[in-house]
Subunit: 452 residues, 2 copies
């Protein structure tokens, strides 16, 4: 077996790292590989390293694990780099959200609350992607980068345009979304074929087959007969955005069902205040409301605490606490397909070439693809409905272009334009005041210097 070198950047995302370790242990064709964990948080890095070693031992799987707080060590000669790093963690987002709330921006910075996973203009993330890929060009120029942290759309476009690194953007949204749809319609998963191309967090179900037949009529029937009841039952508990009134409304407007984050992001008028959000996403206001989001952050903390507890207890069985079952992440299967030709169909973010009509060939799209030793073969080729292009896809592409142009030129004016394009902005003065306060934050000092 070949010694495949996998480097995980931001390995302190401990739950995600353990998912990867679990998937590796369940993929015998990759046994013998070297896995380098890298994180600047030494405590979490040590915990992940410790858990990974014990997990492999318990599974009798053979891997070489390494750890590093310096990126260059992990990158040297890597075949695959998995980037999951979120610079500053959720903390800096929350701090900026608070400031934006003071300036009259409900739920804080970002054009549409739920499509926003980092800082203003994604500066810190894009800076990190730039530094990482520059270093990859030196240490492992032929490695594949599996880009996992957000913004995947902006990030993959930046990397494909500005560097020589081969990048695949990966998101679990498609699988999660399809899961909710399949469960809700009570279908047998193995009989379902779903195709949903678009941009990351903006994908549309162009094909929905069940037992070889078009299954959109089953969805239509569910909407007509069962949706109201489903919403009533779930609204006080947890209503996934995937099958929310927002998703059904977008399907009505655009003609194709939006999958996963597509509905969560949705139209601006679903998000104007908590009362409105409740109408569209259930009584909690949806995943990103002021009700659910703090609970989600707390949940992440608890997950991490559990993991640290196991890490700190050498006598505990790791596999008992985290039973060996394949995770929803595609990373290890994709590596297996590229290395060992164990080919499969995946949902990936790669340059469009001539996949979606009227999207420039260099723009990164999300598309189903066949992955094998030959590489990535995107499977979608065709048009999206005009309403989707004009009302959703091209405006989203323009936002990406503006974010990248602001970052690449370091033009503060363009950063201001991003705020001015935000529906919640009511005046130039308000936008300027927000920008000023955001740039004044201590952790934004390099950002302040970057944008002249």
């Amino acid at each position: 077996m070949r010694d495949v070198k996998i480097c995980i950047i931001g390995a302190g995302s401990a739950v995600f790292s353990l998912d990867l370790v679990r998937d590796l242990c369940l993929t015998k064709s990759l046994w013998g590989s070297t896995v380098s964990f890298m994180d600047i948080d030494e405590q979490r890095l040590n915990a992940v390293y410790n858990l990974a070693k014990r997990y492999a031992n318990e599974m009798k799987a053979n891997f070489r694990f390494k750890k590093a707080t310096k990126r260059e060590e992990g990158l040297q000669d890597a075949d695959f780099v998995i980037d999951t790093a979120l610079v500053g963690g959720h903390k800096i987002q929350e701090e900026q959200r608070e400031i934006a709330e003071k300036h009259g921006y409900y739920r804080g910075i970002g054009d549409v609350v739920s499509d926003y996973y980092s800082d203003l203009g994604s500066y810190h993330q894009l800076k990190f992607f730039t530094d990482l890929t520059r270093e990859m060009e030196e240490k492992c120029p032929d490695a594949w980068l599996l880009q996992t942290s957000n913004p995947v759309f902006e990030g993959c476009n930046l990397i494909t345009r500005e560097t020589k690194i081969k990048v695949i953007g990966l998101c679990d949204g498609f699988d999660l979304g399809c899961g909710v749809l399949i469960d809700t319609l009570k279908l047998a998963k193995e009989e379902v074929l779903i195709e949903a191309p678009g941009f990351n967090h903006m994908i549309w179900m162009t094909k929905f087959h069940y037992k070889g037949e078009n299954a959109y009529p089953l969805l239509d029937e569910w909407i007509a007969k069962s949706a109201e009841e489903y919403w009533k039952e779930n609204r006080n508990y947890y209503l996934p955005a995937d099958m929310s009134p927002a998703a059904v409304d977008m399907y009505r407007i655009f003609g194709l069902l939006p999958i996963a984050d597509t509905a969560r992001v949705g139209n601006w008028w679903y998000h104007t205040d908590l009362e409105t959000k409740k109408n569209w996403y259930g009584s909690t206001g949806g995943d990103d409301s002021e009700v659910v989001w703090p609970l989600y952050l707390k949940f992440l903390e608890n997950q991490l605490d559990n993991l640290m507890e196991v890490a700190n207890n050498p006598s505990a069985s790791v596999t008992e606490n985290f039973p060996p079952a394949k995770s929803i992440q595609q990373h290890i299967s994709i590596i297996d397909a590229l290395v060992n030709d164990n080919r499969g169909r995946f949902q990936v973010n790669v340059p469009n070439k001539n996949g979606i009509s009227e999207i420039p060939s260099d723009v990164v799209i999300e598309t189903p693809a066949l992955v094998s030793k030959k590489g990535i073969e995107p499977l979608f080729k065709g048009k999206l409905p005009k309403g989707i292009m004009v009302g959703a896809m091209i405006p989203r592409m323009l936002r990406m272009e503006l974010v990248l142009e602001a970052f690449l030129t370091g033009d503060r004016e363009l950063l201001l334009q991003l705020i001015l394009n935000d529906r919640r902005t009511k005046s130039l003065e308000q936008a300027k005041a927000l920008l000023k306060d955001i740039l004044k934050l201590p952790f934004n000092r390099s950002m302040m210097e970057h944008y002249k």
Copy 2:
């Protein structure tokens, strides 16, 4: 001399029609032509017909004038059709503005007040363009249509895509705007060369030569040294949008000077209320403010009254009241160029082909062009700055696409999207309520039926 047949649709736009007659009388190479006036307003039609005949007599120019209240008569075998018709006149726009104001839309319907010259989704105008060009396909399939009434951008795209009629969109904005710039900088007009491609009402000065040299430094000097004073002097009188603080601000943001209506439309945040408009367009708030717009409508009325007075007084000299000097309109010179090869450089709206990079080839752009017996040869070929494409051109193109898609599909949902895309819309309910009230208007009955 060849008998050229020119048909003027909406000839009751009496001042404009008289401009054309004046230009014809001053263009000897077109003497002998037949000019058919068409309008549904018989009184104004008769006045124009009467004035035209007298004007030609006084000028000893030889033309055959005809008049018709039925379109098909004027169109039969026409070589040129000049369309200046505004369905319902300004009245229906004002009525809809009032309703929209009640729904919380400052200055009424339309995405950006000053870019809005007709009704919601431009229904009545687009319907008129469709009917007119269908009739042209029967009566004069080889005629050129010189499309003058707004929306020129949406209209020309509709016509080139949906019919076989050769259309040229014409607007006096470019010449007026250049005039203001040249006067303000105190340049000798004949030494100036300006190139300003884009879309109608969104054009950018890509070239500014004075005596063969780049003249942008002269503009920069004026901004640095004279602009403040100029604004102070003009703000209580009349400050043209072309050299307003808004125009200079857009130049600062986008890197090229916006010409004419480009600055008048400007950024949404220039238009939020009268106080804000005053900051950007002088103390009257600019051409489309609640201060100036009613005065403009009154001015049009007075102009018409004067004209009717001369028409009703057979002993008055028409040429004394309207001295024979070439107007700013390009129509007659373009006809002369196409018919008699008296070639010239004009500002026209025609399909892009490969003029502006990254704009689809079938989208109509505004561009300088050489016009001769061979036809229209667009002269601009190149890129616009990325900030202009992302921040202005492509969003404007998307709005056009949405307007046309709404019109062509008759999908009421898309009409609602147009309102929802309006920055002033605060909620879905507000947008729905406005749409409902607009469709209820008696003159919108056919519109109500069109949009299901």
